[in-house]
């Protein structure tokens, strides 16, 4: 199964196209696309193959479950998806919303994608064709070597923040 997620804020037409073309090129594989508010409109006049399911919004539990179960997860560069994906060391292909296609107000999703590549080695795509062909490939073995690093950073952050709070709150 392939799971694509556009987050809970906005539709994302180029990711919709990846979902549609990905489902067409892999007719045996179930594809689930979480499209965001208004995100189903793009599919209205298109032939949606039987293996593609589209939902605008998902409850948190189901979203998490699909991210864990999917063979590939394709995600916009939003932290609601990337944080749990990193914590579970899931195979993820990041597809940032870009300002030049008016998918966001600015390019912070591209900045996030670049930072996540530098820090965690996540792969990101800015064009849909390369991403669609990657879906046919098998993900390499999951790499959980960074999980300890994340946990240690959080402990340090929590420790310093706790110290700050205790010194300022009587």
């Amino acid at each position: 199964m392939i799971f694509l997620t556009a987050g809970g804020q906005l539709p994302f037409d180029r990711l919709a196209e990846v979902a549609l073309e990905g489902a067409r090129s892999l007719p045996e594989e179930p594809v689930i696309y979480q499209a965001g508010p208004g995100g189903t409109a793009w599919f209205e006049h298109r032939d949606v193959p039987a293996n593609l399911a589209i939902e605008e919004f998902m409850e948190v539990g189901r979203h998490r479950k699909l991210m864990v179960e999917a063979r590939w997860v394709v995600s916009h560069a939003g932290m609601g998806s990337l944080l749990p994906l990193l914590e579970q060391a899931r195979p993820v292909l990041v597809f940032p919303r870009l300002k030049r296609y008016r998918e966001h107000r600015n390019d912070h999703q591209l900045d996030t994608a670049i930072a996540m590549r530098e820090r965690f080695g996540l792969t990101f795509y800015t064009e849909s064709q390369a991403l669609i062909s990657q879906l046919a490939q098998t993900p390499s073995a999951t790499d959980d070597s960074k999980l300890e690093l994340i946990e240690r950073r959080r402990e340090e952050f929590g420790h310093r923040l706790q110290g700050m709070l205790e010194s300022r709150v009587r």
Partner: protein, 144 residues
């Protein structure tokens, strides 16, 4: 210590949950913008952003309704706009307020974060490079 923890549904809330897991806060009051967003009990307030500023009034009323009954020593938010409004109101009620800018703001502080430098006691970024550019912003660490 009783702490108000407020974050919009999605990535903001996921970050605050991770941070709170590494704090010992005594008791917590969670506030977010959509029902059934998390396992813990939580209040829900009206969402708004800079393009839907007209909903901020309703959000302020929601916040008042919660804070009338909850006295908090500290108030912490990871964003977005409703979190900032919540911290501003909590500060008026005597809370020590901490804004933690989202880890998604890799290169520059969010607009809410820039406002937080004036409205909150502390403004934190999760990227050292961002803190280097602001006198009133500190880096204490990151969820990633």
């Amino acid at each position: 210590m009783r702490a108000l923890l407020v974050a919009s549904f999605g990535g903001h809330l996921v970050q605050l949950e991770r941070i709170a897991a590494h704090l010992s806060l005594g008791s917590t009051v969670w506030v977010t913008t959509r029902p059934a967003s998390m396992d813990q009990p939580h209040h829900v307030i009206t969402d708004f952003n800079k393009t839907t500023l007209w909903r901020a009034g309703r959000c302020a009323v929601d916040i008042q309704r919660i804070l009338r009954h909850e006295r908090c020593d500290a108030a912490i938010s990871t964003g977005a706009a409703p979190g900032l409004l919540c911290l501003a109101v909590a500060r008026l009620g005597g809370s020590y307020t901490v804004w933690i800018d989202s880890v998604a703001n890799v290169r520059r502080l969010s607009l809410s974060g820039r406002l937080a430098t004036w409205l909150c006691h502390e403004t934190l970024t999760q990227w050292p490079e961002v803190a280097a550019g602001h006198r009133r912003v500190s880096y204490l660490g990151s969820v990633l």
